[in-house]
């Protein structure tokens, strides 16, 4: 009389078109369909359990009334296929259909700007941006392909923040650094970076090139210890192994045991 859950899921996955669009091609969620088909259901279920057991979950998720206020104010929605309402909806149904959450985690969520405009306007007090942050964290922890793809170009920033607690450091403005589209003014500045940096009138900033300000070794040691003890280094290892190992090496140099 009723379709089983697995029949329902098979039927939904089968209805994705070649471009990965669901709901007969109507605008909606763009799935990483192939990955989801190959995905490990145990991992999918574990992700849902972890998200729902998180101490933030009961503050971030209540129940979506589908009003769309969040999507109306969402910056990425104006430019790419991303809607915070969809995120909350998928979280709402995640227990019964973990595949839906998993598919969304595999690409969709990485468009979020984390501006929290959605949280401010939700009449049901949901925090879609907060849910996305939790899901990104879970994607990194479980080493999802999309997390690797999204974070690879970001490796240097990740390393800088994890080891020094600072980033967008002056040495990232050299002529071969990733800010060439900031124009000729920036290029001129890059040519005389050391002189310009030496002339900054704040003693903790003046002359620092590889960090944003002078950071004590002891401070960096504490930071790396926190990341190790809180499980961040292990988590990053699942997605960007090289970065995590470099952080561990930096920690060892400062006296943090591996």
């Amino acid at each position: 009389m009723y379709v089983t859950k697995s029949e329902k899921v098979t039927s939904r996955l089968g209805s994705l078109n070649e471009d990965g669009w669901h709901y007969s091609g109507l605008p909606g969620l763009q799935w990483e369909a192939e990955n989801a088909r190959m995905g490990d259901r145990k991992v999918m279920k574990r992700i849902v359990e972890e998200v729902q057991a998180d101490p933030r979950f009961e503050d971030f998720y209540h129940a979506c009334i589908n009003c769309g206020n969040c999507t109306a104010v969402c910056p990425p929605f104006r430019l790419v296929d991303f809607a915070p309402r969809i995120v909350v909806q998928k979280v709402m149904h995640a227990k019964d259909e973990p595949e839906l959450l998993y598919q969304m985690m595999d690409q969709y969520i990485w468009s979020c700007f984390q501006c929290y405009s959605c949280w401010e306007v939700c009449p049901a007090q949901n925090n879609p941006g907060g849910l996305v942050a939790m899901l990104k964290e879970s994607a990194v922890k479980h080493g999802l392909t999309s997390a690797k793809r999204s974070l690879e170009p970001y490796s240097k920033i990740l390393y800088k923040v994890m080891t020094t607690g600072t980033q967008i450091t002056p040495d990232m403005h050299s002529s071969n650094a990733p800010f060439r589209d900031w124009g000729g003014g920036k290029a001129d500045l890059a040519k005389h970076l050391r002189e310009e940096r030496a002339a900054v009138a704040v003693e903790t900033l003046a002359g620092t090139i590889d960090k944003s300000w002078k950071v004590d070794d002891r401070t960096m040691k504490e930071l790396i210890t926190i990341e190790k003890e809180a499980g961040v280094t292990d988590m990053v290892k699942q997605t960007l192994k090289d970065v995590a190992e470099m952080v561990e090496e930096a920690g060892e140099e400062l006296g943090v045991p591996k």
């Binding site: 101490p55 104010v73 910056p75 430019l79 790419v80 990485w110 979020c112 700007f113 984390q114 501006c115 929290y116 405009s117 949280w119 401010e120 009449p123 007090q125 990104k136 964290e137 879970s138 997390a147 999204s150 974070l151 170009p153 970001y154 920033i157 923040v161 607690g165 600072t166 980033q167 967008i168 002056p170 403005h173 589209d181 900031w182 500045l189 005389h192 002189e195 030496a198 002339a199 900054v200 009138a201 704040v202 003693e203 903790t204 900033l205 003046a206 960090k211 944003s212 300000w213 002078k214 950071v215 004590d216 401070t219 040691k221 930071l223 210890t225 926190i226 990341e227 988590m235 990053v236």
Partner: protein, 428 residues
């Protein structure tokens, strides 16, 4: 004739309203927003009560905004009175500003030195590391909370009150303080980590953004202006993470745009005599997006230009865009280069409220405000204020040359501190 404005209802629909009615509607919507978030406001106030209980039971220590910090009082969106410390500040620097827009921080320090405000600029500080969390999911609540707690403990040891420069750090710290107070599980894990690094759990009674400090000091700042800036028109962009991320606790004031917008930054400009202009996309974010500004630049830049810069210039004809967050300055300033190359003519200088206030007070545009790190053309703004930027540029170049030849650098120096550090630091 009664002044009227069009209210955009979306999907191309507009309704013509009297300006006075539109302002009333916006005020009503702000009031409703504060009350709509029933759970949020009440939970936040409950959290503050619970923090007091935890302090009484000896489970945590609280860093109070005592009289030694000469606090001023402001009202937040929730209607709560919030204490803003004004002296003996521990400068919580921003990872997004110090490396490439150093004038942001030097202008703030310069203002403080001019107003004889003692402060601590500590090298024993990390950023909040929430850039990694929001940008890439590469942190977790326990790590973020522990980083927050270590920085707050470092400030407590120095007997100085944390003043947070970055909007994201301010928002993140509000989130993790809430989490640590409300969740015993998170609190216990953080305490165990802090023990390993020889620190205790000390939570600040109030979390204060630097723009709130400028807000309470605005009249003093205005009293020291050297240039008449009443001919300047400004647009203001408030950072999402100051007033949307745990919205309850940011400063609002009924005398500043009738309380329809957050008070800081706008209030400073108004106190200086600037004509602050409104625009239709006021509440939109800057387009920063954390990871996007670095690795998915097209989306970040497109949003910044077409939702902020272009409408601001077209609607307000403002001379300057004033901002109070490092990520926003970066995005809004840097996103004007490629669009200009593609033939979009609208451009506007982007500076922080601190930089603008310092300029009005007579700060050096290069040595102090470091405007040469900004990309959108600011020369027209300086000329309109009456600042001779050409002479200033020559002075700065001479200074850089002198430094190269071994001259001693000149740093901004605060007045001596009145409070002594609390305890010897124990971590080794």
């Amino acid at each position: 004739m009664t002044e009227s404005q069009a209210l955009n209802l979306g999907k191309g629909d507009e309704v013509e309203m009297r300006t006075v009615d539109l302002k009333f509607l916006q005020k009503l919507s702000m009031d409703r927003k504060a009350h709509l978030a029933y759970g949020k406001v009440e939970d936040y106030l409950r959290m503050l009560e619970k923090m007091k209980e935890l302090e009484r039971s000896g489970e945590i220590m609280v860093h109070h905004v005592g009289d030694e910090y000469e606090p001023a009082t402001v009202k937040t969106l929730s209607g709560r009175e919030k204490k803003v410390p004004t002296v003996e500040l521990w400068q919580h620097k921003s990872c997004g500003q110090c490396g490439h827009i150093p004038g942001y921080i030097s202008a703030l320090y310069w203002i403080m030195a001019e107003l004889k405000i003692p402060y601590v600029d500590d090298t024993n500080q990390t950023s909040c590391t929430a850039w990694n969390y929001y940008g890439s999911g590469t942190s977790n609540p326990v790590a973020l909370s522990a980083v927050f707690a270590r920085n707050m403990h470092a400030a407590y040891e120095k007997n100085a009150y944390p003043l947070i420069h970055c909007g994201t750090s301010y928002g993140d710290y509000k989130e993790v303080r809430y989490l640590m107070v409300m969740s015993r599980e998170v609190r216990d894990q953080v305490k165990a980590i802090l023990k390993k690094i020889g620190r205790d759990l000390v939570l600040p009674e109030e979390l204060v953004h630097y723009s709130e400090w400028l807000h309470v000091k605005r009249n003093e700042i205005a009293g020291r202006r050297k240039f008449d800036v009443s001919n300047i028109k400004a647009a203001v962009h408030a950072a999402c993470h100051t007033y949307k991320l745990m919205a309850e606790d940011f400063t609002y004031d009924p005398t500043i745009m009738e309380g329809r917008r957050p008070a800081p930054t706008t209030s400073v400009a108004m106190a200086l005599g600037v004509d602050v202009k409104e625009y239709s996309t006021w509440s939109d974010c800057c387009g920063f997006g954390f990871r996007h500004i670095l690795t998915e630049r097209e989306i970040s830049r497109s949003f910044a230009y077409f939702r902020k810069i272009q409408p601001i210039v077209r609607e307000t004809k403002a001379d300057v865009l004033l901002v109070h967050d490092t990520g926003c300055v970066t995005t809004l300033d840097k996103s004007q280069v490629v669009t200009k190359a593609h033939g979009f003519p609208e451009t506007i200088p982007v500076v922080s409220d601190a930089q603008f206030a310092a300029l009005a007070m007579g700060a050096h545009p290069f040595k102090v405000c470091q405007l040469h790190w900004h990309l959108a053309d600011w020369k027209g703004l300086l000329e309109k204020i009456g600042i001779d930027w050409k002479t200033a540029e020559t002075e700065y170049k001479d200074y850089v040359q002198a430094l190269k030849e071994g001259a001693k650098p000149v740093y901004i120096t605060p007045p001596p501190r009145r409070l002594k550090p609390r305890a010897k630091e124990t971590f080794s």
